[in-house]
Structure formats: C-alpha cells, structure tokens
Amino acid sequence: MSHYSQLSPEQRRAKLYSIFSCVVICLIAFTFLFPLYWIITGSFKTKTEILSSTPVWVPSEWVMTNYENLMSKRTAPLFDFSLLGYTITGPTIPAALRWLLNTVVMSVSSMLLTCLTAAMAGYALAKKRFYGRTILFSLIVCAMALPKQVILIPLVREMSALELYDTIWSVIIPIVGWPFGVFLLKQFAEGIPTEMVEACRIDGASEWRTFTDVMFPMIKPGVGACAIFTFINSWNDYFMQLIMLMSTKELTISVGIATMQGENSTDFGILMAGSALASIPIIIVFLIFQKYFTKGITMGAVKG
C-alpha cells in the first residue's frame, strides 16, 4: 500500500479494478463450489441433519449410512454375457457399482465412436466437394436444433425392433448420431490449409493415408475437445438413459439412483451419496484432460 499514492490515477483505477474483480470472482466461485460442497458433506450427514430446518454447514457426526444404503439396496452382477447359448454371469455386487461401470463404459464408448466418425465426416464435409454437401450440412444444423423429446418415441420403436432397447447401445448410438461432433470438427478441418491435403494426394498417398497421416494429427486438438464434450454430454444425458434403460443391471448411475426413491419422499442421502460418487470419475477425467481439452476447444472455436 505504501507505493499506492505514487501511482497515476489511471493506474490506480486499474489496480482498484483488478482487486475488485478478483474479490467478486472469488465470491462467485464460492457459489459455484457450494453445490458440490453441499452434496459431498450432505452424503455423510444423518437423515435428521439432511432434513434440518437450519443449515448444517458441517456434519456434526460423519456417518456412512447413506453410502451403505446406496450399496445395499440393490444388487446386480458385475458382468453378464451369453456365449454359445450359455449365459455367463459375474459375481453379484452392489448395483451402484455396476451403474457406475455402465456409465463409464457408455460415456467412453460414445466418446470413442463419436470422435472417429465425426473426424472422418468432418474432414469430408470440409475438404471434399460432393453432391448433397449443402443439404447434408443444413440437415446437420436442423438436427442440432431439434429437441430430443420429440424423437424419443420413434427412437424407442427403432431400438426395440433392433433388439437394442434396454442395452447401453440404445443410449450410445443416438449420441454418436448426434451431429454436434461433426459440426465441431468440420469447423476445425476447414482451418487446415487445403494445399497440405492436396500435396499429400499428389505424392500418391491413398485417401485413407491422407486422412490418418495428415488430417488427423492436425485436427487432434479438436478431436480432444470433441472427446471431452461427448464424454460429459453422454454422462449427463439423463432423459435418454431414463427412457431407454430398464433392467437394474443396465442402468446408469443417475437413473439408478432415481429408482431408489419412494412415493412423495426423496431420499436425499442416497441421492447425494450417488451424485458424489458419480462426480468423482468425471472430475478426474476433466483434470487429466484439462490442458489438452482447453487447447483443443479454443483452436476449434477460433477457426470457426
């Protein structure tokens, strides 16, 4: 503060402004942190404290009851599949763990499939001239604008005709078909100079080699962004999961927790324990990919 008076009014104002914005951002950040804090501490509270009419900031007694309930109320096999007419069923575990596993498998599969198909399609849309290109792109934008609720019933009919209803594929496939990733990677691929692609072709490389050796490495950051977005979208795609999945062993964590609720009574303990558990993998993914991720999106968007 001693040299504060030596600053010009302009600098002083800038300084004040940056202190002010810092404080405000810290305050706002607090409200963003609060729900997670509340969920995590809440998952260790007793039922009385969860329902308390005065805020209980820190549990007076940390209990595991909610996690025990979450783990004990339902069971499911760890895995199960049929081979040559035999059904192979894994050991019975708490269903919540199976749900978590399902959710991870679902999100990762949609992520990988989307990245692959979207990178290829984005490349074609950006760099190839073909009949129907404009129409296809318009359809992609329209599809993104269409609310998912209205396509659910035809989708359920389709999935049951294909015998995919009540399997995680019924949730993965619509996400892979959702054109968001294609849109993102098309924007991205457009930023890559066409000359580079052509040079490669003139050197005699095949179409596929051109894609894998030239195009893909260059749009990698975009693919990274697409990966994380798809992962998170798929993780949070509650409504689709709710409609498509039915069996206890096929559910995802958020839908599974919902089936544990009674009539006119929400078991907040189980809800919070489940949500806390479910947010851990996704936060880890975010932290791991953070650097890659941010770089990726920006380049994609900047080129937009």
Binding site: L139, P147, V150, I173, S279
Partner: protein
Amino acid sequence: MVKTPVQYNKKQRRLVMQENVAAYAFLLPFLIFFVGFVLYPMFMCVYTSFFDATMGREDIFVGLKNYQDLFQDEVFWIALRNTLVIVVVSVPITCIFSLWVASAISKMPVAATSAFRCIFYLPVVTGSVAVTMVWKWMFNNYYGIFNYLGKDVLGILDKNINWLGDEKYALWCIILILLTTSVGQPIVLYVSALDNVDKSLVEAAEVDGATPKQAFWKIKWPQMMPTTLYILVITTINSFQCFALIQLLTSGGPKNSTMTIMYYIYYSAFKLYKYGYGNAMGVILAIIIAILSALQFKAGQEK
C-alpha cells in the same frame, strides 16, 4: 459449394466421381448413425406432427390442424415468451460474464487460472439432478439459504420470499441456475482464446500508446470473434432447450410463469399423450432455433 459440373471430359468426370465416392466413404460411418438414429426419427417427428396421434389407437391424419391449434393455444404463447426471455437474457449474460471472468482469471498465475477454470466448470460436471436439488433447497421459502442470509444474517429482507413460488422471481431464479450451469464451457473457451491471441500485435499496439482497454477491444476482441460466434450458437441452442430445471423445480408454475416450450412439449407428449401436438411444437421450436443459428452464422461470417 458444389458447382454443377458443366462441360467435363471423360477423365474429369472420373475424378469427380472418385471425389464423390471418397467423400461418401468417409461420411459413411457417421451417416449410418445420423440417418438411422437422428434423421429418420426426425422425419417421423415431422410426419407425426400432421396426425392426431395418441396412445392406444391408430393415428388420424389432420393436416395442419396441430399447427393451427398451436397458434390458438394461450399456454404455447406464454411458453414461447418465457423461452425467448430466457434466451434473450441468458445468452448475452453468459457471453459477457464468461468473457469478463476469463479475462480476469487469465491474468492470474497459472495455478489460479486452472483452479478457477475447474471451479466454474464444476456445475456442468456434477450432474443436473443433484445440483438442482441443492439450488431448490437454497431457494426454499422456509429454511433456504437465501432467505436465511437475507433475513436473519444481513437483514435486507423483512420477510421470507418464496423465490420459486413467486411469479415475479421464479423465472429469474431459473435463469440464474441456468447461468451457473452454462458459463463453464464459455469460460474455458475464452481463457484459451485470450491465450492464443497474437501477442506481437498487442505489444505493438501498446508501444504505439494504446491503453489496455483499447488493446482489448481493438486487437483481442476481433481475434476472438470466431470463439464468440461458436459460444453464441451453442448457448442459444442450450437456452432454448431448457427443460430439466423446469421439470425438477417448478413444473412450469407458478401460473405458467416458468413454462418453456421444451417443458410444454414434454407435458403434451408424455403426460397428455398428444404426440402429434407435441411434435408440431418441436418442429416450430427447431425452425426458430435453426433460423437464429443461421442468422448468427451470417453475422459472424460477415465480420
């Protein structure tokens, strides 16, 4: 875009053919999913919107009646108005707020930037059901944190406000929660966009005596235009499709003050089994979003 091939000789024609085959080969994996599981249901949606379709009986063709009914439905107009309010308020605020936060945190040390970026992304990551539940408790009339702070701690309020139960506040509460779940991605984007701005240009401007403010608006802002455009389009689509918050918090009330098109579609199709009617609304919503997105693209690309 694709020019009509005018006078091509045999070889050129073969090249065009090849290009087409290659393009569709690359598109094929995506097209299988897109056509089969997005376009086909989408087509069915448009098709059903011309029928009086419900559960347990054959659909009856009614032409444009669903659309006519829609325009005479008072609730539809309320829902449309509320949806537009959400879009008009939340889209600019999301963009401005995330730009402001991004520019403030990008000047901080790297660790702090990462920490804040992560914190602002948390609501997206935590999952909507649980986060919404916490907000519902915070807004509670009797023991929610806002009334507790406002009345008992700070003394600003004389009596409890029923935030979600009051027509005057309910929609704004929804918008507030929507904002917290939608600024994460733009902040992340803007932080990196600011990093990627050509430093030499900024330095050159500063040598020429530009104030930080001028440097920002004259140099950085135009370079971030594509990011802004992208954020605008995505935020617009998300705001239009605001549904889960309404379902979990207000069911569209009080007195339809938080009824959005998406919730009304859900209510018509899933609660009243008016599939045709719900689909007609979905088509209208998609058209509105598509037009707005196209306009945003046009505006962005002209700049």
